[in-house]
Symmetry: C2
Subunit: 299 residues, 2 copies
């Protein structure tokens, strides 16, 4: 199986109020993912708060992940940064620490042009010397990749995959056909947006980059496997089981809900990096109920 | 005159490829602003690339500005950062270095809620102990302040002003009346978006937060003063003189054009922080022509 296929589980990165990563809590989260047999770990993704952590803390998180995964699950590391030289340094750090692949978002402050994004990706892909997945996440970066730019990036050495947001019309088949038509056959196309991911896999996407998989990997893996097998009835049953989570993710932001879930599952009482705040106390019972509802489907 | 009134000139922050600020070049830019008699310096704004610079380099830039301004022009410092604790530290740094006021944008990666933005601003305003201007810049931060949040923030100690983007319909009078109706009488309301700023001043806005004023302060000041005086003919004449710049700003991004202007004016050959790139060489003659056209109006 290629690196950018199947279920990639994106854990939060537990840290204290000053942004120091709690390696033990991170390892506890990663053990859940390794034990469940997810296809990869998506470390320091948006869910992993990479944008809020220093280079040193990001390196410590990668080292923890490599040690914890122990070669049993491959580790993909988010190396996005505002400055190209910083993203290059993060890519080299990840490579040195033993990461299997990289994930790069076009983080920006000044809105970027297509040429600027192309040069940024080419520079980081070269520095990292690891397979790299384009992190196409307009809701956090505000940059939207058009198909011409994706096709151009897919010709760059080391750039071998893309993580797409859900298409507005949920028409995965058309989008996948368009992307496959302009990228090499081995170029992997996956999706994030947990509530649309099983549809993406059923439509032939290569990967699900999963937020919920970072904290409930066994359950997410069951959904991924059902979708990959084209088992429509099981997909439908599990989608119903996950539905309260999808609603909460849309209401409160999946990033915030993940911290509440980590606390409920005994990983520890961590808060998101400020200015982001924990979900309101009044919403915690909703998360508990969503968890109970999901578990009911796995009895 | 209050700190957040009149023409605030926003220079670029000249730096090398690794992000080290060139204090001498910055001082040269600041001397132009001081000599022109601008009402304030808007240091480390979006134009000043604050998001791309480390805390140490930002502190050096502030120290350079305070020394160069020498009390003749007041210095407002951008202290935006992704993390609340980092923005608080930057605010303390600015205060210690002798800044007169602060500018704070709700920089975000995870889209923020209104409550999160409120708490972020309240924390930084408290740490900074300086008059603070809300930096409302949705094109770079993706956060849009609604009037309820502005009204709430205007009650926080030290938060005394807002820098608004141009209203979509250019209806400054209605927007100003709405904002004045929900904020204290001493709360200052200014605008950025150079091509709409004279209209804003004519309509009664308190300040123009000016990109072009960072490199052509005398010319920008002439336009500001004409608008403040309600001299419609002179405003019209100078708007015609600036028009080629407004066109270039919209086409290429004012951030990029400012670096080309700095080179043409002999401040030095600096590039924007990568991934942002200089304007194409083919566009440099357009900038030269825009400069000649503007200067023609000042003969």
């Amino acid at each position: 199986m290629s690196l950018f296929e199947g279920l990639s589980a994106f854990p939060i990165t537990p840290a204290d109020a000053s942004g120091r990563v709690d390696s033990a809590a991170l390892a506890a989260l990663l053990h859940r993912i390794v034990d469940a047999g997810a296809d990869s770990i998506g470390l320091l993704g948006s869910t992993g708060a990479y944008a809020f952590l220093t280079r040193d803390e990001r390196r410590r998180a990668v080292e923890t992940a490599i040690a914890t995964a122990g070669g049993r699950v491959r580790v993909i590391v988010g190396v996005g940064a505002l400055r190209t030289d910083e993203a290059q340094a993060l890519a080299r750090d990840a490579k040195e620490a033993g990461a299997d692949g990289l994930l790069l978002a076009p983080v920006s402050y000044v809105p970027l042009t297509s040429d600027e994004v192309f040069e940024h990706f080419a520079a980081v892909a070269k520095s990292g010397s690891l397979p790299l997945c384009i992190y196409n996440n307009p809701s956090t970066t505000r940059f939207t990749f058009n198909s011409a730019l994706i096709a151009r990036l897919a010709t760059v050495p080391n750039i071998v995959a893309i993580k797409m947001p859900l298409p507005a019309n949920e028409d995965f088949k058309t989008e996948l056909a368009d992307l496959r038509g302009t990228t090499p056959s081995e170029f992997a196309i996956g999706y994030s947006g947990d509530w649309g991911a099983s549809s993406a896999l059923v439509a032939g996407a290569d990967a699900w980059y999963s937020v919920v998989g970072g904290i409930l990997p066994a359950e997410a893996l069951a959904l991924a496997r059902a979708a990959q097998a084209g088992d429509a009835a099981e997909v439908e049953r599990l989608e119903q089981a996950f539905l309260p989570f999808w609603t909460l993710f849309k209401q409160l932001g999946s990033f915030r809900v993940m911290y509440a879930l980590a606390a409920l599952l005994g990983v520890g009482d961590f808060e998101p990096p400020r200015p982001v705040r924990a979900i309101p106390a009044s919403a915690v019972p909703d998360v508990e109920r969503a968890l109970e509802h999901l578990r009911g489907a796995f009895k």
